[in-house]
Amino acid sequence: MEKLSVQLSNLSERAAGIENRANAARQEGAEKRDAAIASAKADAKAKQEAFNAQVSSANDTARSRWQAVRESFTNNSQKAQEGIKSRKEAVDLRMTKDRVALLEVYAEDAVAFALIAMNEAEIAVLDAIDARLHLEDMENA
């Protein structure tokens, strides 16, 4: 279980830090905010590659299911980013407000979805602990 514990710890640190980094971004100038976004994007991309590598070691059925989920998730993100990018250079206040509203809705949805993914991870961890303890009970019987 150490591996799962380490992963949970990493996830905890990442989740706890999001609000702090968002608050910090609000205090910074545009240049530093852009740097923070670029850094977060690079982290997300690295995580995506790590996820792909990890899932590729799963059996065929599990791998294809996770790949389908990941592709759906990535496609959604890319489509949203394209839609948002097309309005990025807006200097008109009304268009800018539209873009802000879109970004804020997307951010809320992304956080809500991350919560669901974390809840599912919790169930998976509990199931895995249950399965391991069941095995240990059998070995000790």
Binding site: R65, F73, V111, A121, A124
Partner: protein, 143 residues
Amino acid sequence: MLKIMPSLSEQLNKLSERIASIETNAKDALQDSSIVGEAAISAAIEGVKTGQVEFNRALSSADSELGQQWQEVQDSFQANVDLARTNIQSTIKNVDISIAEGDAEVAETYASNAIAFAELAAREAEVAVLNAVSARQHADSLK
């Protein structure tokens, strides 16, 4: 105060609390096998249902295209979760020790992948939050 922040801040707090509780539940489970079982897992499943209700509520306020895309992601994710959970639950109390060993490994691999995906989702959420904060600052500067 940014327009989005009360809602987003509340959700981010939930995110932190949720993951903290996952760690606590996992540690407790390792220390006391009696807490692992229907009650703990049922409580976690209730958490998922609540999260799904909130997510669907959030989608209802999204524009139709964005909402539809998120719905597709959620459907794909849910289909994977349901199938994996059904498989794991159907074999988790196997009485053959060699099969039980394989089942434990499958459950642990699935949990590891689920954590990795949750982290991926959290990082995407972070990028989205930072983009939203940046856009709001830009809009405020135009006023």
